[in-house]
């Protein structure tokens, strides 16, 4: 198991929190919460070691189009990069409902 953390700049405040996904095989859980300030913090706990670069690539892409000031906590059970991105987008969608 590996813990990975990233920080990204943010430009706008987020009002609502969102929880999506399940820590089941090939899936992940995303907890998205408003964070004070002008940055976003991502904290990942993954059951699969050695994929830091892949996580960074997925999150770089996600934060290229999302500038919310949020704290994102991810509990991962071996999700593919595609699933991770979809879950992140789903969390944003739920937080904007």
């Amino acid at each position: 198991m590996e813990r990975i953390e990233f920080d990204y700049p943010a430009t706008h405040a987020v009002l609502k929190k969102a929880h999506v996904g399940v820590v089941g095989s090939g899936d992940l859980e995303v907890l998205l919460e408003p964070l004070d300030g002008d940055s976003a913090h991502v904290s990942i706990l993954t059951s699969v070691d050695g994929f830091r670069n892949t996580w960074k690539a997925v999150l770089d892409r996600f934060f290229a189009s999302y500038q919310g000031a949020v704290r994102i906590q991810i509990h991962d059970a071996g999700a593919t990069p595609g699933s991770v991105l979809l879950r992140l987008q789903q969390a944003v969608e739920v937080s904007q409902r």
Binding site: M1, V23, L45, S47, H75, D76
Partner: protein, 291 residues
């Protein structure tokens, strides 16, 4: 349940099995009345899983919701089968037991609060063995106290099913609702095969497993009180029906003499066909059939 199902209705139904634990719990309530207690943002995670290299889940796989069903205050506890097989750890077990105890305290104060458990679980979480076992004992004690006040309804929808110590908790429930896809049993098929050999039970034979552990057989044997389709609406109606029925005059688990006599009447030296067993086992009253 009619054999000839209405195809259009079946296709247009909302599947219950495809919902996750949170969605399953929510769909049972009267619209807009539910709220979650000790949810994922309260971060009641297992402290033991990460130590063993297993990713925890923010709600430890146990969803507790309070709201109204048929206008009556009800607590629904749903286990998430996709997280660690719905296994009972220290935190998830404590959440379930505490929810039942709080419902009990409400009932003792004169505030009627029903309880529904959605059990998708392999039983004790092996990574938290003794703590999981202890919490299952607590859950069983809590069910026994609560069911004196209100019906404790157990739903096993599938596809994990309900096994191990939690099958005993299901056995203590006032009413058990199952689908054909669900399974209920003390030892799971693989455990039986490992301990008694493949001749005793072939865990790769799915037809055999469902013929014995499956919802249809459990219902026919009188161990479940309703067999419903994989349909959220049918599940809601079954729960409402059993809430309206109230506490049964005699709980199944209190009928010790009846079950002893049934076991005594069976000849264990012969191989029983599951269908044949239904008739041989259940000479008594037939349970309710869901239409």
């Amino acid at each position: 349940m009619s054999e000839q199902r209405n195809d259009t209705k079946f296709i247009n139904r909302q599947s219950f099995i495809e919902l996750n634990a949170r969605e399953r719990a929510e769909v049972l309530f009267d619209a807009g009345t539910s709220r979650e207690l000790a949810g994922p943002f309260d971060r009641m995670e297992s402290p033991w899983l990460a130590m063993q290299g297993v990713t925890p889940q923010a709600d430890d796989g146990c969803v507790v919701m309070k709201g109204k069903i048929s206008g009556q205050s009800t607590v629904v506890i749903a286990l998430e089968g996709a997280f660690q097989g719905g296994s009972m750890g220290e935190v998830s077990g404590e959440k379930l037991a505490a929810a039942l105890d709080l419902a009990c305290a409400d009932n003792e104060k004169g505030i009627r609060t029903n309880a529904v458990m959605l059990l998708e679980t392999g039983g004790v979480r092996l990574q938290e063995a003794n703590l999981g076992l202890a919490s299952i004992a607590e859950i069983m004690a809590s069910i026994l106290v609560l069911r004196r006040h209100v019906p404790v309804i157990c739903i096993i929808a599938g596809t994990v099913g309900c096994f191990g110590g939690m099958s005993l908790a299901a056995g203590l429930a006032s009413y058990v609702v199952m689908t054909r896809e669900a399974r209920l049993g003390m030892n799971g098929p693989e455990v039986i095969e490992q301990t008694s050999g493949v001749d005793e039970f072939d865990s790769s034979d799915r037809a055999l497993i469902w013929a014995i552990h499956g919802g249809e057989q459990r219902f026919a044997m009188g161990l479940a009180d309703a067999l419903v389709e994989d349909d959220a609406q049918q599940m809601v109606e079954a729960v409402q029906r059993f809430i309206a029925k109230g506490v049964p005059a005699v709980h199944r688990s209190s009928e010790v003499a009846l079950y002893r006599s049934r076991i005594a009447a069976l000849d264990p030296s012969r191989q029983w066909d599951p269908k044949e067993l239904r008739a041989a086992w259940k000479a008594g009253a037939a349970p309710e059939v869901n239409q």
